[in-house]
């Protein structure tokens, strides 16, 4: 909120915690740095990536975020108090990475007039080509930047006079070959598709290997920390 009134975003520092023995603390920032520490900005940060607020699992404890009391105690100073919690769980979080196939994302930009209609027509042509080539994907997704990429149908219909629209098509497959083939179908759209199109400057889309993330839990009894210091 009020993003345009936040001062000096070119000089934002890291937040500072002044911790107290009772578990309370003040969050603040260095004088002369940009940004803003208010109850509003702190609340937004507290809610970020939150699950069940009564069971916020951290390495040290399970915190109950519904017990937090906030107070603005000075300019850019917010005090936290009253925080309750429970002992840590008997599990460790394990972040596992695994190979999960391939993806590629192609983009093209269409200008006025009829920017959105042109981008939609280009998407239909592309899908027809992919279909005729017999390529199979686990997922294919089209978004129109400037129209619906962020908020889908909630954004409503764009103005017929919209200045430009970015066609963004992504594919995903466990096999590399169909994804590779897809990347060769974007450039021809600029030559053999709807006009007033640009955005091919950096060439064919890159095929990316997907390294996916699997968060898991293991009992703490399964891991025994060991430290060794060796001199070389």
């Amino acid at each position: 909120m009020d993003w345009e009134t936040i001062p000096n975003l070119a000089d934002v520092g890291y937040p500072i915690i002044e911790a107290e023995p009772d578990g309370g603390f003040v969050i603040t920032k260095h004088a002369g740095t940009g940004g803003r520490v208010t109850i509003e900005s702190v609340k937004e940060q507290l809610l970020y990536e939150m699950g069940d607020p009564r069971e916020y699992i951290t390495p040290d404890c399970i915190a109950d975020f519904t017990s937090i009391q906030l107070e603005q105690v000075g300019p850019d100073r917010v005090r936290f108090s009253g925080i309750l919690g429970k002992p840590a769980t008997d599990m460790y979080k394990v972040s596992i990475s695994y190979s999960a196939g391939f993806k590629a994302i192609g983009t093209l930009m269409y200008s006025w007039p009829d920017a959105y209609a042109k981008a939609q027509a280009a998407d239909a042509i592309l899908r027809e080509r992919l279909h005729r080539l017999g390529l199979r994907f686990d997922a294919i997704r089209t978004e129109f930047g400037g129209v619906n990429a962020c908020h889908g149908t909630l954004a409503g219909e764009p103005s017929p006079e919209i200045a430009e629209v970015v066609l963004r098509v992504g594919v995903r497959s466990t096999e590399r070959a169909p994804v590779e083939r897809f990347t060769k179908e974007i450039a021809p759209l600029a030559l053999n598709g709807p006009p007033t199109v640009t955005g091919l400057g950096s060439g064919r889309p890159k095929v990316e290997e997907i390294v996916a993330y699997w968060p898991a839990l293991i009992p703490k009894t399964e891991a025994s920390p060991e430290i060794s210091v060796e001199e070389t």
């Binding site: 937004e44 970020y48 069940d52 906030l70």
Partner: protein, 110 residues
């Protein structure tokens, strides 16, 4: 009754946990919080995010912060590096929720 967008009475922040997006909705004034609790139900949010949220919506209340936290399951095309979405982390879903319109008493904003 007057119909207003949530952006008039709340601010929000969103992020991701795998294929689940979370949206925190925070009342701009303490007196707006009961309205959020009453009007912005999990069902209403599920309906609002039709076509985006393919799974269930869970709601949690944080009266101490004047805030609600929503979990939108199956909303990020697999999430993380698997996702083909431009907004694979649901960073803009906060603003998407603020588009929701609710009915409030006429004189509430005066």
């Amino acid at each position: 009754m007057a119909r207003v967008k949530l952006v008039r009475i709340a601010h929000a922040r969103s992020g991701d946990k795998g294929d689940t997006a979370n949206v925190g909705l925070i009342a701009l004034k303490p007196e707006f919080y009961p309205l959020l609790v009453q009007k912005v139900t999990a069902d209403r949010v599920k309906e609002h995010f039709a076509g985006i949220c393919l799974g269930a919506v869970q709601r949690f209340e944080l009266p101490n912060l004047g805030a609600l936290n929503f979990l939108l399951h199956e909303s990020l095309d697999g999430g993380g590096t698997l996702s083909l979405k431009a907004d694979a982390q649901g960073k803009t879903y906060s603003a998407a929720l603020l588009r929701m319109e609710i009915d409030i008493p006429e004189d509430f904003l005066k």
